[in-house]
Amino acid sequence: MIVKRKPLNLLERLYLPAIAGGFKVTLRHFFKKKVTMQYPEEKWAVPPGYRGAPYLVRDQEGNTKCVSCQLCEFVCPPKAIKIIPPGPAGRLADRPNAEKMPAEFEINMLRCIFCGFCQEVCPEEAIFLQKDYSLTGASRAEMIYNKEKLLALGGTHPGIQKWKHKLEEAKEQENFPVKV
């Protein structure tokens, strides 16, 4: 198909009316409400339910919730999570009853795609996608977040504390029927 170009008329060939029209638009916007956000001085208010970077959380008593079941490591599509389990001689968990907690927990934030599978699969409600969306670092090593960093960034998430309740239930039954 051939599109025929109409020859420009005199006014159009002058250009000046078009330039004036352009300036008129610019001038109108000078007095309108500003829409550009001054990032990074000004930050976007993240809506609830936003899926940002995954961090580890502590329970209301400040204990690590993660028991290093490694389901998040298994489900992670980009293989960003690496967990080192405590091993037989490892330090006991910092909370009662649940015998296991990770010796090390690393998320490579360069690999993480913020998909939320880790949060979905976690049986302990120990990892949540939080509101950070812009992570920066000066090196690749700096972008691998370790357990301390993830826990510090994650904050607290009050939960049902099932291990604590199990322990309390067990204590009530301690001398019943016979102490083994």
Partner: protein, 566 residues
């Protein structure tokens, strides 16, 4: 002695009468009698018939290699038998087939013998309901601590709950709590809350291991598995109870909290701790080996293995493994030599040696292929050779007194003297009187076998290949880092003459190379004859050359191995 390879020589079993039964409407023929755990012929049970019909019947307490207990009730099935009239003759349907009357009650498939014409129904709504009910009861007091349980991923309670259970629990009362993380023995951790009281471990340790150490105390919901008071559960077979425990009640202390099982790559291999050669699976992830588990092979180890062999894997991942090739030149320069330059130099040296001036001490821990390649070298150089015997204590079950995994291989390939170690004094004497100027050592610390540093100092050339550093490797002129069995492929010939192959589980560290690979290069350089560069070709070539192995092929020996005449 070119005997055709055979499987285990056993007297031909007497012909067993076959009977016809129907499993879920499909008619199959099953033998009337089947060997039980101890090998005694017993009437075939419904669960065995279902297995022959390829129908899965879930079960906890039943194990084909253990006495029947029949306490878990998971294998309940419905069945029917041909009805008999008052004249004791089968009642016939109008179409002439025998009338089958369904039993009013279900039966446990593991302990009910089959009878001719029996029909087993494993898939009826009633059976499904029974399985749901049994699982609901089993889960009443189960702690559901799968996130911290080492069994998760290979737990029958998890699997059957998904396959046959209900999705939700109706139980709202508090669960009965029992002792957790009980130290049952030096290698076993017990969690009583997880136990479903199937008694497999009790039967194993009493009837198979012959150590009546475990039992159940208290009653009803408070049933608790425990060891005899004041007695540790510490026989050499305790870790088998971890394998047969269908739940996470018994867990290995060694594997505790190390790695989740779904990450482990399982490689078929053979245990090298003694001449029995138990078939194993190596569980590894990336470059690390996490555990050995027995692999069922009725001709060798059944489904069991000893604790010593199972835990004897940590040396493979040791930090001080030999990883660099060393030659006299590289020692001076302080830099590792390259494989090609070292092998060429060694070949040049060996070519120049006069006949009778070379001695080879190979190891009966090496594979058949490697020993055969060494025997080619030996023939070319006219060398004297031997290997070191390791005798220890055996037992009646699996542990062999011979601690070398491949004594028979060393003898079949002609590397070891007829009485292993008989040539060692001759080699010592040869070095002492200066007749032997070159010594090639594979995987043995000869300083412990009569060749001290002063004697080795007399040698012109000492060529050593090993995996871990020792006094001999320190004195070596040429040091060639080798591989553990988990890092290469090959075959061993066990104490009964069973040739078994093993696969590679992890990568060797640093520059270490499988011995058969560099031996192939070395033999090629020395003799000028090229051989096969693949383990399959090498094995087949060796099988043609070694009379006892005639007729074997790499593919033909399969996962279970083949017994040859030794």
């Amino acid at each position: 002695m070119s005997a055709a390879p055979t499987t285990e020589t056993k007297p031909a079993p007497p012909a067993i009468e076959k009977i016809k039964v129907k499993v879920d409407g499909r008619e199959i023929e099953v033998p009337r009698l089947t060997a039980d755990w101890s090998g005694k012929l017993m009437p075939t049970t419904m669960i065995q018939a279902c297995e022959l019909a390829k129908t899965d019947v879930p079960h906890y307490c039943y194990h084909p290699k253990l006495p029947i207990a029949g306490n878990c009730r998971m294998c309940l099935v419905e069945f029917g038998t041909p009805a008999l009239g008052p004249d004791r003759k089968p009642i016939l349907n109008p179409d002439g087939t025998p009338k089958v009357v369904k039993s009013p009650r279900p039966a446990i498939a593991c302990a009910t013998p089959v009878s001719p014409g029996m029909e087993i129904y494993s898939n009826t709504p009633g059976v499904k309901q029974m399985r749901e009910g049994v699982l609901e009861f089993l889960l009443i007091n189960h702690p559901l601590d799968c996130p911290i349980c080492d069994q998760a991923g290979e737990c029958k309670l998890q699997e059957y709950s998904v396959d046959y259970g209900q999705s939700a629990s109706r139980f709202v009362e508090p669960k009965v709590h029992k002792p957790k993380s009980v130290d049952l023995g030096p290698r076993i951790m017990l969690d009583d809350e997880r136990c479903i009281l199937c008694t497999r471990c009790i039967r194993f340790t009493k009837d198979i291991a012959g150590d009546d150490a475990l039992g159940i105390i208290n009653r009803g919901s408070f049933n608790t598995l425990t060891a005899y008071p004041g007695k540790a559960f510490d026989n050499n077979y305790t870790l088998n109870t971890v394998d047969i425990c269908p739940v996470g009640a018994l867990t290995s202390k060694d594997f505790r909290f190390q790695m989740r099982v779904w990450f482990l790559k399982e490689t078929k291999s053979v245990c090298t701790s003694c001449a029995t050669g138990c078939n194993i699976l190596i569980g590894s992830r990336e470059k690390k080996i996490y555990r050995y588990t027995p692999r069922e092979n009725d001709a060798v180890n059944g489904p069991w293995m000893c604790d010593y062999g199972r835990l004897n894997y940590k040396w493979i991942g040791r930090e001080d493994r030999l990883t660099k090739v060393q030659s006299p030149k590289s020692k001076v320069q302080g830099q590792p030599a390259s494989w090609s330059s070292a092998l060429t130099e060694i070949a040049e040296l060996l070519k120049k040696t006069p006949a009778g001036s070379v001695a080879i001490i190979a190891s009966a821990r090496q594979t058949n292929e490697e020993l055969w390649l060494i025997s080619k070298l030996k023939a070319k150089l006219g060398a004297i050779s031997d290997s070191v015997s390791r005798m220890g204590e055996g037992d009646k079950l699996l542990v062999s007194a011979d601690k070398n995994p491949n004594t028979n291989g060393a003898q079949l390939t002609g590397i070891a003297a007829n009485l292993m170690g008989a040539n060692l004094p001759k080699i010592v004497e040869g070095i002492r009187n200066g007749k032997i100027k070159t010594l090639i050592v594979f995987g043995e610390d000869v300083t412990r076998h009569g060749m001290g540093a002063d004697l080795l100092g007399k040698l012109e050339t000492l060529i050593v290949s090993d995996i871990l550093p020792n006094a001999t490797t320190k004195l070596a002129h040429y040091l060639l880092p080798g591989c553990a069995h988990a890092e290469k492929r090959g075959t061993f010939t066990n104490t009964k003459g069973r040739v078994q192959k093993f696969m590679k589980a992890v990568e060797p560290p640093g520059d270490a190379r499988p011995e058969w690979e560099f031996l192939h290069d070395l033999v090629c350089n020395v003799t000028g004859q090229d051989g096969f560069l693949t383990i399959e070709g090498l094995f087949n070539e060796m099988a043609n050359a070694v009379s006892a192995l005639n007729g074997l092929t790499w593919a033909g020996i399969g996962d279970a191995g083949v017994t040859v005449k030794i």
